[in-house]
Amino acid sequence: MPTLTEYVPDAPGEMGDRVFVVDQSRCIGCQACVQACEECGTHRGHSMMQLDFIDRGATVQTVPLICMHCADPTCAEVCPADAIKQNEDGIVQSSLKPRCIACWNCVNACPFGIPKKMFELDQMMKCDMCYDRSSVGLAPMCASVCPSQALWFGTPQEFDATRTGVLEDTMVFGGQYVRTKVQVVVHEPGPVAVAPGRRYTHWTDDPFGLDEGPAEADVSRDWPLAPALSAAQQRQAGPGAWPVAHGAGAGAGAGGVGGSAAGDAGDSRTEGARP
């Protein structure tokens, strides 16, 4: 794709059939999207992106939140000043400055929590899918930089050729069905119920095998653990193998190779000794 300065936009409003896709399962939480959003020409210095941990205590899974550009935008519906407009590409824009009365109805009503209160400007601003870029065939800033491509911009054909996952554009919030221009990747077809449901691989409940018996990573166990090797296995393990011959629970570091007093351990293996 051409870069912005080289690209001569023909007619504005030309996003064509390009789609914006969010695949949360790919997100690595790096916040490149958040940082790059701030660099976008239409709202420099203000990031319209949000990046959330679902529950950092339990998982590193993160969720990038961009405006979903709803077909029937709730934000615009609740705006008493008719300040939020949708353009011919279906992009829901920031409030029009002369109209916006900073009532924050939109902020409260958006099912995705997207619009931002810009106190210093006294208006609502939001993601406009980098319309300066997307209208000339360039990916928005967030999808341009996203290292994992959890945020992706391109044609449906490109999507099918390079990526997996089912695209879905309908979310259900209780009784409200919301259809969006932005597509999310799901694993099965059908509207996305936004409330519960976590997907596990078989180990995610117990990443460290705490419930799997002998290998339990119990914090109270002393190191080194005594591996239960047979005498034959010990012989096979050969010289330099980790020692096995001291009793379980013996004062840690008390016996065997590498069990030398931990404070100066390492010297025996590092010629060129410490002073």
Partner: protein
């Protein structure tokens, strides 16, 4: 005695880190862009292509460089905000000399004065104590031209054997492992091979945070149906989606990998045809793991035996596979062995020199590959030649027009240089691109050693915590303030283009070293009129070596979006994938499997220090943070170190997320907020290392070295954890308004949700895991 002239707090107040938050002129400035400079990000070994927007000789922003094939426009947050360092208020603009009487602790001096003093001190110290009593430390974030120049400078201008670099903390274990196996220290595959692999095994590599763009390669492999195995003491963002997660105890990597090899051999998932024809040492390597049953390894590593078998089956039965490893394997006293154990899995299954198959180190630092090839490290001459190889010495002395004696010999490694300073053997030091006070283990010892120096000169663009100790500070240049090449983690040589000149009276690093060489009476060896002449000499010096650049020109490198070495003659297309011909650069021509017996870490837990500590990085910071701790939006993303601790261990100590905890080892103590997360082993805590002073994780780490690579054991030591009290205002709030006048923005919990509008919802900072 190189003591800081003022207290650390006073120096920080004067020289930073302060935070730059907005482009030159502020966000509303609508500067006319004069140039769009295609170059690369300086902040990791991936060297993403990036277009810097330049107005009035300042970098004011960036534009994604979609056509550069490695990253196609992608950047991590460091790349996005990297442009904020150029016109940073902390930039050093004049040469400085320590003066405790001066209000700022240093006084500005002329270049002549500064350089003459450096030259005089070098000669004085050497006259009194011998040539090797003056050492030089350099770094792998320098361009290859700078690294080459500094290696030559150390030997021909200073005349010391003691020149080493901070890649000693990074790539040396991998280098030794690959040299032993293949005779070449480079990732054998281009990254475009990753999506072609049937199985991707990530071992000790936090891809998402330390090589973020590689994520997209792994996800593409997943799109193509690849299985994913991850071995790590923490559930990293990549691990989250793995088919098999091997959550091993820190320091037990070779037991885990050895056990997988054990299963491969036992189940005969071995490519005998390949092994018979191209490998030596298979029998010995197999014998070394004969006792490494999954049951045994399970006890040592803490990984359930069934998962080890499952990983072995996935790896053993796939048609192709890549094993990607990084510092998680390598930062150990058994670092080289761990790397060999990873390579063994690839060689036993014939996975080398084919699409989608190979072991690959994930190089970390900006020019972590290129700046370890051309003679700036202690045992090396340009072209990845060994300094103890008589042929190499003869060739390089011919290229340089010097005597064999002048080349000097193998010197101390980085950590050993510090030890030699501590015992008074090395008395003078010149340092560039290295912040050992933060990045070396056991920082209390490092600081004490620096204070013993008779003379210490630093070249840097910011006054790093190490430069606090300097007698003379020479203001140097950023990557974007000069030209040259770097070599990416793929082995691809790419072109760095100059976006802007150095600010004020700062000079380009190459000019500083050439000028200093002249003052040391070695000008005849450094006649370069520009950096291109250095590159052209480097090409010749590398000719015939392992890392052969002879066929490259700056023009070709740019036209072809980089060239993979070796590229031995003009017109040679370069070598994206090594060993397609199955000819290895070992003496026998065969790839070598090295028998690996598990050795426990140098320090193990006991009743006094019962918890393992492992250290690492976060995505928003780079190395010792000299640059990234000065970039406001990056600091905001993860403002201070947090101690990751499992709920089970936390419960034992009554610790809740956000509480302040004290972590102590035999070497030091630090207090920091805890974040209680079940994504780390219950017997292990994690602290990222990018911060200085009382926030430095390296106060705790163990300086024990790998016997071969001399890499320190950053990834494992024994600590004690105690609760100090509830969380307080420990978050870094140093003048957030440095440039913008923005009020300090503390509305976002560290490491949780950024992107809040500055000024919105201010409140106490809450660490992650506290549930927002």
């Amino acid at each position: 005695m190189a003591r800081p002239p003022l207290t650390e707090e006073e120096l920080v107040a004067r020289y930073g880190p302060h935070l730059n938050t907005a482009p030159p002129g502020g966000w509303s400035a609508d500067a006319d862009i004069d140039r769009m400079v295609r170059t690369h990000c300086c902040f990791c070994g991936q060297q993403c292509g990036i277009i810097l927007k330049v107005a009035d000789d300042e970098v004011v922003g960036f534009e994604p460089w979609y056509e550069f094939p490695f990253n196609e426009g992608k950047l991590c947050p460091k790349g996005v905000k990297r442009y904020l360092q150029g016109n940073h208020p902390d930039r050093l603009l004049e040469p400085l000399e320590r003066d405790p009487a001066a209000p700022r602790g240093f006084r500005e001096v002329s270049w002549d004065h500064a350089l003459d003093r450096v030259a005089r001190e070098i000669r004085r110290i050497q006259a009194e104590n011998g040539k090797d009593s003056f050492a030089i430390l350099n770094g792998a974030s320098l361009t290859s031209e700078k690294a080459y120049l500094i290696g030559k400078f150390a030997r021909l201008a200073i005349g010391t054997s003691n020149s080493d670099y901070n890649g000693r903390l990074c790539m040396v274990s991998a280098g030794h492992g690959y040299n032993k196996a293949f005779g070449v220290d480079r990732a054998p595959n281009p990254w475009s091979d990753i999506p072609r692999a049937d199985v991707v095994f990530v071992a000790g590599a936090n891809i998402a945070e330390c090589a973020p763009i590689t994520t997209s390669y792994i996800w593409r492999a997943r799109d193509n149906g690849a299985r994913l195995i991850v071995a790590d003491p923490r559930v990293t963002p990549i691990a989250r989606t793995a088919d098999v997660f091997l959550g091993l105890r820190p320091g037990t990597d070779s037991a885990l990998l050895g056990s997988i090899l054990h299963v491969l051999v036992e189940r005969d998932w071995v490519d005998h045809e390949f092994v018979d024809a191209h490998v030596e040492g298979f029998e010995e390597a197999a014998a070394a793991v004969a006792g490494y049953t999954p049951a045994w390894a399970s006890d040592v590593t803490g990984v359930p035996a069934a998962r080890i078998e499952e990983a072995a089956e996935i790896w053993g039965t796939a048609a192709s596979g890549m094993i990607l490893h990084a510092r998680g394997l390598e930062h150990h006293t058994s670092g080289v062995d761990n790397v060999s154990a990873a390579i063994n899995l690839a060689l036993a299954t014939g996975r080398i020199g084919r699409p989608g198959s190979g072991p690959c180190m994930v190089t970390g630092q900006g020019n972590g590959q290129g700046a370890r090839e051309h003679g700036n490290k202690s045992e090396q001459l340009p072209g990845m030649r060994r300094i103890d190889d008589p042929e190499a010495r003869a060739y390089i002395s011919e290229v340089w027009g010097c005597t064999d004696e002048e080349l000097r010999g193998k010197g101390y490694s980085a950590e050993e240089i510090v030890w030699a300073i501590d015992r008074g053997e090395i008395k003078g030091l010149l340092s560039i691109c290295f912040n050992p006070v933060v990045s070396l283990p056991d920082s209390n010892t490092t600081r004490r050693a620096l204070e013993k120096l008779e003379f210490f000169a630093v070249v840097d663009f910011f006054l790093s915590e190490t430069a606090f100790h300097a007698d003379v500070v020479l203001p140097g240049s950023l990557q974007e303030e000069g030209e040259g090449v770097v070599t990416t983690l793929e082995g691809r040589v790419v072109k760095i283009n100059e976006a802007k000149p150095p600010p004020g009276n700062a000079r380009r690093d190459v000019d500083i070293f050439c000028d200093l060489a002249g003052r040391l009476g070695a000008g005849r060896y450094f006649p370069y009129r520009d950096t291109r002449e250095i590159f052209d000499e480097l090409r010749v010096a590398s000719k015939g070596g392992v890392a052969d650049y002879y066929g490259m020109t700056w023009e070709r490198i740019e036209e072809e979006n980089g060239i993979f070495w070796p590229c031995p003659e003009e017109g040679h297309p370069g070598t994206p994938r090594l060993f397609e011909d199955r000819r290895f650069r070992t003496p026998s021509g065969r790839a070598r499997m090295v028998p690996v017996a598990f050795r426990p870490p140098a320090e193990v837990v006991d009743s006094e220090y019962p918890v393992w500590l492992t250290t690492g990085r976060v995505v928003s910071q780079y190395l010792s943070g000299t640059q990234t701790r000065r970039i406001g939006p990056l600091v905001k993303q993860y403002p201070e170190p947090l101690c990751e601790i499992h709920p089970r261990l936390a419960r034992e100590h009554g610790i809740e997320s956000g509480d302040v905890v004290r972590v102590s080892s035999r070497r030091g103590t630090m207090t920091l907020p805890a974040t209680v997360v079940s994504t780390i082993r219950p017997d292990t805590v994690f602290i990222p290392y990018h911060w200085a002073g009382d926030r430095a994780a390296n106060q705790l780490t163990n300086p024990a070295l790998d016997p071969e690579s001399r890499i320190p054991e950053f990834k494992t030591c024994a600590v004690r954890v105690e609760r100090v009290g509830p969380g307080g205002a420990t978050v870094d709030r140093r003048d957030y308004e440095t440039r913008t006048g923005d009020a300090p923005d503390t509305g976002d919990a560290p490491n949780t949700a950024a992107g809040g509008v500055p000024g919105e919802a201010p409140g106490p900072a809450t660490p992650p895991g506290s549930g927002t």
